[in-house]
Amino acid sequence: MSETEENSVDRLLEILADEAAFGLGADQEHLLKSIPDDLSPAERDEMMKIAGLTQLSFLKIDAQACQEMPEHLREKILTKADEFFARQLAKSNAGKVVELNEFRTANEAKKLNESQQQAPRSNINTWIGWSVAAALLIALVVNQSDFRGTLETPASSIAQQRVELLNETRDAIQVPWRETADFQGAGIDGDVVWSNSTQQGFLRLAGLPANDPTISQYQLWIVDPDRDANPVDGGVFDVASNDGETIIRIDAKLNVKSPAAFAVTREKPGGVVVSAGPLLIVAAVKS
């Protein structure tokens, strides 16, 4: 390693140590953008993990500080857990914003796992057909469960959370939607915000026609060629109105490593395991 490279690594470690100790200011966030791409999220998290372990070690020394959580706080958290699970399990209704965050029961998860392990490759259809910017053509093979979108009443908190993710997460990307050859003239506006380190993201959409969820639903796909040829199912969602903006939380059910694009299709109610497209809108990530 050259002296310059060593200095660069030392500086990087210093920034990560500062982050783990007290977070980073805007000036240091900027410096983190220069972190080499080949540094994995796990490596980037290592210093935070060490700081967390050190915090635990001090707690171990300070045994008197180990206190039971107050009962009223425990009750509050259990109530929040009920809300959290209910939100995850709620069914889609028209006129609401959808949150793609289905929380499966243990049994469903087990069945899904088994069916995925047993599914022969021959059942996987190739899903071709999108071009963006530089006539990118990717074969999309879908081998995913039919995770369902769940409802969340429109709330400013989602918009707020989107802004927070964008502003406060160092690796958050913002990618605008583009219409495709199959879906021109709708005047789509909006973008995708996504963070690899947190595996969180949001769709912001305006101009996508309202759907009747008894007839069809929109479905999100995350294209991640580094991970697999199979795009990750982002879940189904509804657009309640032709007017205004819809913000949807993404909860990718598989770990996304390096998204190349986000795409939306229109499918039968509940979505599909294998999509034949066409893609309606695409947000392509610049490499």
């Binding site: 060490i50 001090f58 020394i61 206190q67 039971e68 706080l73």
Partner: protein, 187 residues
Amino acid sequence: MTDQSILERISGGDKAAVKDCLDAYGALVWSLARRFLGNVADAEDAVQDIFIAIWSAAGQYDASIASEITFISTIARRRLIDRLRKTGRRPATESLDSEDSAQPQPAVASRLEESAEVAKVARVLESMPPDNREILAMSLYEGYSHSEIAGHMELPLGTVKTRVRRGLMQIREQLQLTDELAQDELR
């Protein structure tokens, strides 16, 4: 009985695992938050945020990479830092010391005793000069800013930053070293 970890059960949608998670880690997260934020009201808000974050991230937990306690403490730390940066370390509205009339929670201490990683870090801390250890404790455990520590210890700000960085890097190196030694022994 199941061999799955609590986080794996939460990820699988087992709602009963939420209670188990609170039983296992509630006091631990609460104790960390109280000490780090120095304010009971903020700690209560933070602990709620932390558990929601833990449930949301449960699907990303990989037992081959980290223990549950490490995974949870990392999430807790990120959330506590976020809160502290937003709100600052506000004066305690209730004395934490007065709460210490409550009995210490032995299960937390016991859980910490069980963690080999915590034990390794504790050993590195014990080997540090007391001043450096105090600076690390004020920064990482008690949530004081670098400038607050500099004022308290009557040290230049740059010195405090350097000692915190060096302390973390020393712990990192020692953990890597012990991991390498353990792997060598397995060969």
